[in-house]
Amino acid sequence: MKTQSKMVAAAVAVVTAFALSACTGSSGGDSSTASSSCAPSSGKVDLTFTTWVPGMDKVVDLWNQKNPDIQVKFQTGPSGNAGTYQNFFNQIKAGNAPDLGQVEYDALPNFRVQDGLTNIAACTPVSGAQDKFVDWTWKQVTFDEKDAVYAVPQDTGPIAMFYRKDLFDAAGIPVPTTWDEYAKDAALIKAQGSYITNFPKTDVNWFAGMVWQNGGQWFKNDGNDWTVDLTGDKSTQVADYWQKLIDNGEVSKLASFSDEWNKSFNDGQQWTWISAVWGASTLETGAPDTLGKWAVAPMPQWKSGGDQAGDWGGSSTAVLKGSKHPYEAAKFAMWLNSDPEALALENKLGGLYPAAKAGADLDAFTSGQEFYGGQKIYDVFKEASSQVNPDFTWGPTMTQTYTDVSDGFGSALGGSGTLTDALKTGQQKTIDALKAQSIPVK
């Protein structure tokens, strides 16, 4: 009978463990904004850091050499929306999230709403950090709240236009500076048997970047309620524009970043790519045969002579909920994103374009790029960075918004419905999702 009672005891223990973890999972939201104190820990501290940026392990090694008392363990995973965010949410719910995690700006509100971030405003390494970073990124990590810093800005993704200079020159087609010209060129390029670009169904954040440039705004938060506006004039204008290119068969419909997509760029099927600064290395690795044939120009403008740019992507380093060493974590996050040596390494290995103001002056960003025919392409992006509207707000359930709009984009590409329909559906589903999470929405 002894074994039996042991068995029962074990079973009870297992069940209780589950019940307990369930409890901690559901009551995780008690000390959400308390940031009154942030004291250094005594003795040696071990931190964990999860990121998907290539080469970040080398940067972590550099830190570990210099800081024997704060050792950081590097962990990697798929890019945010491809799985790491879901891991983070699960880990936060289970109470064993890494101390630090890579979180893109558009996902930060989602983590904030899920109470997954630690407020590090009171940690001394962060004090005075505001001036070190590009203005709009600071708003993204503070939500304009008082005494609040939820993450340290890492990189940005100001958008410009990559284009095949050789093909434009050979065909005698003018390089577009406005969206009108871009549409005219699209028809000319179609006549040549190629595409002006690919419409990326899954990159709804890219589409948001286009809306961002046009002065649109998808979300607003007045401190109490959220407003969702995916279907405003500015968004509809962008949607109608791309719908026309799709209807005319002037853009391809490949799954972006797929092998098929790379091949299409490598084979000269794509003449332009409206993309962020990090796209420079994507093109280099994806289309190696086109070395020296690309150039970079500012985004086409809605008004002739305009100077607006959008942003696509960009990340922060967040101290996730449950970290026992917020002080040390904040110290590491600040070093990671403002130390010149770290920034240079991150650019070299991961292609990051720093959010730190000093980053733009790194050697890597002031020299000509071989892949782009020797052009100093980062000058264009530096200019674009200063033209990004600083007041763009992301919603609290962006993963869901992206998925629903992307599904609608997929239908539109398949010929049923339009991009505007997709935005309408996305609007309704986002409001439903906010209500389901009991987030106040107007």
Binding site: G223, T397, D407, G410, S438
Partner: protein
């Protein structure tokens, strides 16, 4: 596609111990039974009963919070998640999609499996060992790998058959469901064939001899003897296939990086996965519970409808 065993029949401890009741070894025997059943019981509880119970518990919760960034609290919400499930058009659309898929794909696959099994069992065929292995080999390829491989084969510009794939787009909205059906069939025909084939091997040779004496030819033996006798095996494979169809995940999820036509709610399991990553755990749990019930009911109804004929 995963296959779950339908029922797990644990040895009934009651009858064993009752036979030995009163004998000196009774207690130690009972202890032995407990020891032998324990590994199964613990794992069954850990990985089956508790997760299901937790999913049901989770599905009854709902989120409450104050203000924009107020701390979220999970409170008991009754059946409110289930109301959302039944109002969700995309989810039911995905259920309808896999049902259409199953109605076409499962019979085609099982017909092929039966055909191959009969051919392997027929005295006419040479090189049986080779064909048995060749048909079964695709099952050894993990579903994700199979989907990636077929994704490249379907791809308009990367496919070795690009002359065909650039004129017929297998990854378009109209065709992609059947492209997935083709992958699933390719993977699972051999597996189902093997189940049916092993059931064919169990048929006593005397029956064939008797049939031959009565003048039956190979075709008559196949239709009149073999197929009726392996019907239970066919029904078993059908139930596995129905369950697998409702649980389609890996193939459509993998093909999403090849095709723009597969939405985030293309199959029920994909919808659950997408909902969980919002994260909306309670709704995802409710979806899962409803899906599990639907699978159970469908399998049960199918068994009820067929077993009278098969096992009479």
């Amino acid at each position: 596609m995963t296959t779950t065993s339908l029922e797990t029949t644990a040895p009934t401890t009651g009858s064993l111990s009752s036979k030995r009741r009163g004998r000196p070894g009774g207690l130690s025997l009972r202890r032995a039974v407990v020891v032998f059943v324990a590994p199964f019981g613990v794992l069954y509880a850990l990985f089956y009963v508790i997760p299901i119970a937790f999913a049901i518990y989770q599905s009854l919760l709902t989120v409450k919070r104050e203000g924009t960034f107020g701390a979220a609290q999970q409170v008991f919400g009754g059946l409110s998640q289930y109301i959302l499930v039944f109002q969700d058009g995309a989810f039911w659309g995905s259920v309808g999609r896999v049902l259409v898929f199953g109605i076409v794909q499962v019979p085609v696959m099982l017909f092929l499996a039966l055909l191959f099994a009969l051919l392997l069992d027929s005295p006419l065929l040479r090189g049986k060992k080779f064909f048995r292995l060749a048909f079964f080999a695709p099952y050894a390829v993990p579903g994700v790998i199979a989907a990636i491989m077929w994704g490249f084969l379907y791809s308009p510009s990367l496919s070795p058959f690009s002359a065909l794939t650039s004129s017929v787009n297998f990854l378009s909205a109209d065709l992609v469901l059947w492209s997935i059906a083709n992958i699933v069939t390719w993977v699972y025909v051999g597996y189902n064939m093997l189940i049916i084939y092993s059931s064919l091997l169990a048929i006593p040779q005397e029956i064939y001899e008797a049939a031959k004496l009565d003048g039956a030819n190979n075709w008559q033996i196949a239709v009149g003897i073999k197929i009726p006798l392996v019907t239970p095996a066919i029904i078993l494979t059908a139930v596995f296939s129905i369950i697998g169809t409702l649980q389609l995940l890996a193939e459509p999820q993998t093909l999403r990086s090849f095709s723009s036509a597969i939405s985030s709610t293309y199959t029920p399991n994909l919808a659950v996965y997408t909902t969980a990553s919002i994260p909306n755990y309670s709704l995802a749990a409710a979806f899962s519970v409803v899906l599990a019930l639907a699978t159970f009911i469908l399998s049960f109804v199918f068994l009820k409808l067929t077993q009278r004929r098969a096992f009479a």
